[in-house]
């Protein structure tokens, strides 16, 4: 056991214990402390996860090989036709390119793509090194676009220039560049864009089906199972429906300016949120028939889902969960979903949550719940033990940590194998939680509880000035 503090002085303001009576705010939206084991990723990572599901585009990573290797088909998003996006293209910069510039190599790489394929769109992603050596991605993209009469779109995603959120923005800019003008003719049906679903395990298909059941047409899903052609026509919808707020609110705002399309936040995680979101969209359509169909559909679905869910409630009641996910919005919907299952959230953290999201988290959770921004494995370990959580929800790097501690784990990120959204997803989710938390394997582990820890506790009730 280390005698060192678990929480570094500089990190204390990023950790909070929920004290309802006091107005407290958490530090967030800041750079990580150098030397900390951060779980955060980079700008490129943000751009890649958002754009990668565009199925028929070529995603060309301009940089040394690693950036392309690590992101090769790790997204888990499905396609209904073209699977080009699952390949990994890179310029694999070499030393001479770093010295003399990588522009020539990039041009040659695009030529070589065009020799064997005929893509309509090539996204060219900038990585750190490209930002530093100063390759003019814009100029080359323009030149190549003209030469081949296709769209070569630069994605300004040099890793160091911010964090994952800035990568989302870079992706949104690339998407906006792809979107064509709005068609002028009026439509006699209600049509929406669905932003921020990446079709992990086919989730976008489920929502598409729900909407079609109630009579709402989906113009394009951004970016799950989207083709370039579909995205080009995004300007034609009546409404933008935003699921993943972190990545897509910016795009929705820009589309409002560009095409005058309003947007609404929705969530399809959990029975309650799914039902609410469908009803909300129906209302926004202003179409009586859609509203009625939505009400009926929701009633039926909620009923069936609840019958299914009931099977698990008994087995899950009273368990405690720790949540550590990328964005604040996902954390919020998870808290609610667990509450529906009778599971209390004892730790809630995000990599890139915003201040208002943390306020909401504070509102939703109970007194004493630990709230964390940009945490690291030692802190996580400490709070998992301290709170005696039964389950951790997190990403790839957290899984083995939880397992070593004898804590069940749920991946709510790229590695989910079953859809977790919609009514069916809510049931899948309960099933998955049950499957892991009630596995006999935990009985072989001697849980050591928090007894090894005798740290000072002052951060635990850490309070800051109100806004």
């Amino acid at each position: 056991m280390s005698k060192n503090p678990i929480i570094l002085e500089e990190r204390k303001s990023f950790v909070l214990s929920n004290q309802k009576k006091q107005e407290s705010i958490i530090d967030c939206e800041k750079d990580s402390v150098s030397g900390a084991v951060s779980q955060r990723a980079c700008v490129y990572c943000g751009a890649r996860v958002v754009l990668n599901p565009v199925t028929d585009a070529i995603h060309l990573i301009h940089g040394p090989i690693g950036c392309a290797s690590y992101t090769w088909d790790i997204r888990g998003s499905l396609s209904s036709d073209n699977e080009n996006y699952r390949n990994s293209y890179s310029t694999d910069l070499r030393e001479e390119d770093i010295i003399f510039g990588g522009e020539k190599r990039l041009e040659a790489a695009i030529d070589e793509i065009m020799e064997s394929k005929s893509p309509k769109v090539i996204f060219v992603y900038a990585t750190c090194v490209v930002g530093v050596i100063g390759d003019d991605l814009k100029a080359i993209s323009k030149k190549k676009s003209q030469e081949y009469n296709i769209k070569v779109i630069p994605v300004q995603s040099s890793g160091f220039a911010g964090n994952k959120k800035d990568g989302y923005k870079a992706a949104c800019h690339a998407l906006l560049e792809l979107m064509g003008p709005k068609e002028e003719k009026e439509k006699d049906y209600f049509e929406i864009n669905y932003l921020g679903d990446f079709n992990l395990a086919g989730e976008a298909w489920i929502i598409r089906n729900y909407l079609s059941e109630i009579g709402v047409k989906v113009n394009v899903t951004v970016t799950g199972d989207a083709t370039c052609e579909a995205i080009e026509k995004a300007g034609n919808a009546h409404l933008n429906m935003v699921q993943c707020a972190g990545s897509m609110t910016y795009l929705a705002k820009q589309m409002q300016l560009k095409y005058n399309i309003p947007f609404e936040q929705v969530s399809f995680f959990g029975v309650t949120d799914t039902a609410k979101s469908l009803e909300k969209i129906a209302l926004l359509s202003g179409d009586k028939k859609i509203i009625e169909r939505a009400q009926n559909f929701v009633r039926e679905q909620v009923e069936t889902a609840n019958i299914e869910l009931k099977k698990y409630l008994e087995r899950l009641k009273g368990k405690k969960v720790a949540i550590y996910v990328g964005g604040g919005f996902k954390a919020i919907s998870l808290i609610k979903q667990f509450e529906d299952m009778g599971i209390r959230s004892v730790v809630v953290g995000t990599q890139t949550g915003k201040e208002e999201e943390y306020k909401k988290i504070k509102e939703l959770t109970e007194e004493g719940t630990i709230i964390l921004d940009d945490t690291n494995p030692s802190e996580l370990e400490y709070f998992l033990r301290k709170t005696k959580a039964d389950i951790l929800v997190g990403g790839v790097k957290e899984r083995p940590l939880a397992h070593k501690l004898g804590v069940a784990f749920i991946d709510h990120n790229h590695e989910r194998k079953h859809p977790l959204c919609g009514f069916v997803g809510a049931v899948n989710f309960a099933k998955e939680v049950d499957l892991t938390v009630n596995s006999p394997v935990w009985s072989f582990i001697e849980k050591k509880g928090g007894e090894a820890y005798v740290y000072e506790e002052e951060f635990y009730t850490l309070e800051r000035q109100s806004l």
Partner: protein, 456 residues
């Protein structure tokens, strides 16, 4: 997903499609984990470190921790000095490792941070050690990074403290699994040879579950041992690409004779490994336990040679593993139709070509600095019976309906690699089991009813 791959092969000079390698820092990070109580530190932006940890975590299914200098735009303009100094202070305060192993990334290399100078000017706790390696990812591959960090262990720590060398032999196991490192240690123990093996990730990235999280599991070579490598009487470096640099460094500094061998994968390479060790100690007998293992391996090879003899196999992965595996499959009577590595190196092509010539294999192809698109196209032109390589091979395996035996790095979709060795006689036995099973399973699934047999 690879259904679109075309048969026609066009030479590419600038574009890599589906890489068969990755970047230096991850190799350096893996090597660093093989030092007891070591925290790897990545000097660059967060993204790289996060990806390297993620990839290693997926492969080993164990928590892989490393800190990062967390570069922002400021660091790119003014240099990463303050990030690293501050970062190292934080690391020791917060995580209390005995040693930190710093690797660079393309970013810190490109802006030209001078690690030697920065670390010298940083206020470090007295009893702590920092070593570092330059690992620009636009040079070499992850294998190069492993080699560079292994070499750094020598250049920063090894010392000569005795006038007469000790009896100890330095063993550099190469970029292999923790299970392989454990197996190499077991063989040394059976031979009763005092040794220092570095790096040694066994017990670190395949640590037992004790119901608690240990940031520094028990395994790994200690700093004291690394210091003592300067007093050893010889160095045995396994796998030239990943190990020879450190061996040469020991020779340069302390005149310790280097012996560069193949990875002991397969019967011949294991024989050579053991015989070389014996020649160093002057012993003549192989311990009975190893004799028995060899005999059992041979027995199985004879019993089932008809399962794989004459079968064509495509191999891809890291150069050291490929070199040893190619030799082994040739010894099994298989035809290594294509041998591909993503890591650059003419030496690789020369070595494999030599093997082809010696075995009179005329139409086999070897390529260094190649990618899996190339391998797939080759297979489209003339198919093989078996693929041997890492998890990424599953795309080709599915598209072409060829069984895949998973060997190498990374393996993201199967377990066992961190626990069962590939090296030594035991490893060879396991490889045969896998190869033979893969071929027979495929046969059982696809053969006509009248050829479906109980006994094979």
């Amino acid at each position: 997903m690879l259904n679109y791959t075309t048969k026609e092969i066009k030479e590419r000079s600038a574009l890599v499609v589906n890489p068969a390698k990755t970047c230096q820092p991850i190799g350096a990070m893996y090597a660093a984990l093989g030092i007891n109580k070591c925290l790897p530190h990545s000097h660059g932006s967060q993204g790289c470190c996060s990806y390297h940890r993620m990839h290693l975590t997926r492969h080993f299914r164990d928590p892989i921790v490393a800190s990062t200098s967390s570069f922002t735009e400021g660091a790119c303009v003014f240099g990463g000095k303050s990030n690293l100094s501050k970062g190292l202070e934080t690391v020791f305060e917060l995580y209390n490792p005995d040693i930190v192993a710093v690797n660079t990334t393309c970013l810190s290399e490109t802006i030209g941070d001078d690690l030697t100078e920065i670390i010298k000017s940083t206020n470090l706790p007295e009893d702590k050690v920092v070593i570092y390696a330059n690992t620009p990812s636009y040079v070499g591959s992850h294998v190069t990074g492993f080699s560079n960090m292994t070499k750094a262990m020598v250049s920063h720590l090894a010392k000569k403290e005795r006038d007469v060398p000790s009896n100890t032999i330095n063993i550099i196991p190469g970029y292999v699994e923790p299970s392989d490192m454990g197996e190499i240690r077991r063989m040394l123990k059976l031979l009763d040879i005092p040794s220092i093996m570095f790096p040694d990730t066994s017990g670190v990235v395949n640590a037992p579950n004790k119901g608690k999280y240990e940031m520094y599991p028990e395994g790994g070579v200690t700093i004291e041992e690394l210091k003592a490598t300067g007093d050893s009487k010889a160095t045995v470096a396994l796998g030239s690409f990943s190990s020879k640099e450190a061996a040469y460094e020991l020779e340069k500094r302390f005149d310790i004779p280097p012996h560069i061998l193949k990875l002991p994968i397969g019967i011949k390479a294991t024989d050579e490994f053991l015989m070389s060790l014996l020649s160093l100690t002057g012993d003549v007998f192989i311990p009975e336990e190893l004799e028995i293992e060899r005999g059992q391996l041979l027995d199985v090879m004879i019993d089932v040679h008809h399962h794989y003899h004459g079968k064509k196999v495509a191999l891809f992965g890291d150069p050291d593993i490929m070199i040893a595996l190619t030799e082994f499959v040739i010894d099994l009577g298989m035809i290594p139709k294509y041998v591909i590595t993503g890591t650059p190196g003419k030496e690789f092509e020369r070595t494999i070509k030599g093997m082809f010539e010696k075995a009179d294999l005329k139409e086999c192809v070897v390529k260094a600095e190649a990618d899996l698109m190339t391998l797939h196209q080759l297979i489209k032109n003339e198919s093989v019976d078996l693929l041997i390589g890492n998890t990424y091979g599953k795309y080709i395996a599915r598209a072409e309906d060829i069984p895949l035996v998973r060997v190498g790095f990374p393996i993201l979709d199967r377990v066992g690699h961190s626990y069962f060795p590939t090296v030594g006689y035991k490893g060879a036995l396991r490889l045969i089991e896998k190869i033979s099973t893969a071929i027979l399973d495929k046969y059982d699934e696809t053969c006509p009813e009248e050829d479906f047999e109980l006994v094979m």
